[in-house]
């Protein structure tokens, strides 16, 4: 074939490509026979490959499911917020919180962390009501804004 000065034309990428092609073209049966001849535990290899591939599918499905759940949670919280508007005035909001704490055991549990609801700042009242809405505390009751938001 060619003279010595023609040598070393190939670069490393081409060498890697030539090596890869021979494996890609090989029949699975030839590669199985070679692996067995090399003393490899082909049954174990096959089982590991299947498990790796199946794990990837499961993990993909799980991630999709979790993403869908997270999106659902965000959507429902937003919807609840939109549906249940807080009373417009600070007085009405405080009254709502006090009424709820007095008449509803679920609310009382949540608001028990505040020693005296009357001493809460307007901002804290608003924040407490928003927490309660987010927890779904108003879901089975009349809308909190009924008495002051219209």
């Amino acid at each position: 074939m060619s003279a010595d000065e023609n040598r070393r034309k190939m670069d490393l990428e081409a060498l890697l490509g030539n090596l890869a092609d021979a494996v890609e073209r090989a029949s699975p049966e030839d590669l199985l026979a070679e692996a067995k001849a090399a003393g490899q535990d082909t049954k174990q290899i096959a089982s590991d490959v299947k498990n790796t591939l199946l794990d990837a599918v499961r993990s993909f499905e799980q991630r999709k499911l979790h993403a869908a759940r997270a999106a659902y949670r965000t959507r429902s919280t937003e919807l609840r917020r939109r549906r249940i508007a807080l009373p417009a005035t600070a007085d009405a909001r405080r009254r709502l919180l006090l009424d709820a704490a007095t008449n509803n055991r679920r609310f009382a549990q949540v608001t028990a962390r505040f020693r005296d609801l009357n001493e809460l700042s307007d901002e804290d009242v608003k924040s407490a009501l928003e927490d309660l809405i987010e927890l779904g505390a108003f879901d089975d009751t009349a809308e909190p804004g009924d008495d002051g938001n219209k």
């Binding site: 060498l15 089982s47 490959v49």
Partner: protein, 214 residues
């Protein structure tokens, strides 16, 4: 011999996760070994460019690229093993390019995920050993050979395998496989078997991965 992994008859371009699971379950021992060998060889060639990319990462990445529809499955044209083989080749090429640019590919398995309570679960990367090169690996990188030196060492490696030595010598002259087969009166099977023998010899000589060249 067992029946080959079933080629799905669904004419849709994109296979569902169920169909993919079915195809995995139908893989024969030989087909699984082929996928392993493809991923293992890609990992070997990448190892010094992309530290920490093992055959398992490559197989998982291939599956995720398929499921995320980055690769469409045309079952009428390509069987499942052929499809994954093509994806593995593409991953290798992609990661090698990134490795050359000094980037670390972010594997899908490295992306944060959450459990059913919405809590962040540690990624495979976080649970695994640090993928950055160790001082020993950095030393290996710093001792990169020139391409000339590497090819000389490969020639020495085949000094007792005349066919491998001839093939390698012709490759260096950029002689293509079909021409080599014709000149040496080899069948495709003879040629490929010799090349795979060369491949194994190279892996045995450099177990840390294909050496860098300057």
């Amino acid at each position: 011999m067992k029946e080959k992994a079933r080629v799905l008859v669904n004419t849709d371009l994109v296979a569902s996760a169920d169909e993919v699971q079915q195809a995995i379950a139908s893989l024969t021992e030989a087909e699984s070994v082929k996928l392993h060998r493809l991923a293992e060889r890609a990992s070997f060639r990448l190892r010094r460019k992309v530290w920490g990319a093992d055959p398992k990462d490559i197989l998982q990445e291939a599956m995720l690229r398929l499921l995320q529809e980055k690769r469409h499955w045309k079952p009428q044209k390509v069987d499942f093993v052929g499809l994954l083989a093509g994806i593995i080749v593409s991953i290798e090429s992609d990661w090698r390019k990134r490795g050359k640019r000094g980037e670390t590919p972010v594997l899908e398995t490295d992306l944060p995920t959450t459990n059913s309570d919405g809590e962040t679960v540690p990624t495979v990367l976080q649970q695994a050993a640090d993928p950055r090169p160790t001082p020993e690996q950095q030393l290996i990188e710093s001792e990169a050979l020139t391409q000339e030196q590497l090819f000389q060492q490969i020639e020495e490696l085949f000094s007792e395998d005349p066919l491998a030595a001839l093939i390698f010598s012709e490759w260096q002259r950029e002689t293509k496989g079909p021409e080599i087969m014709k000149a040496l009166d080899l069948t495709r099977q003879d040629y490929d078997t010799a090349v795979r023998r060369m491949d194994r010899a190279i892996e045995k000589r450099w177990p840390e991965g294909m050496p860098y060249v300057r």
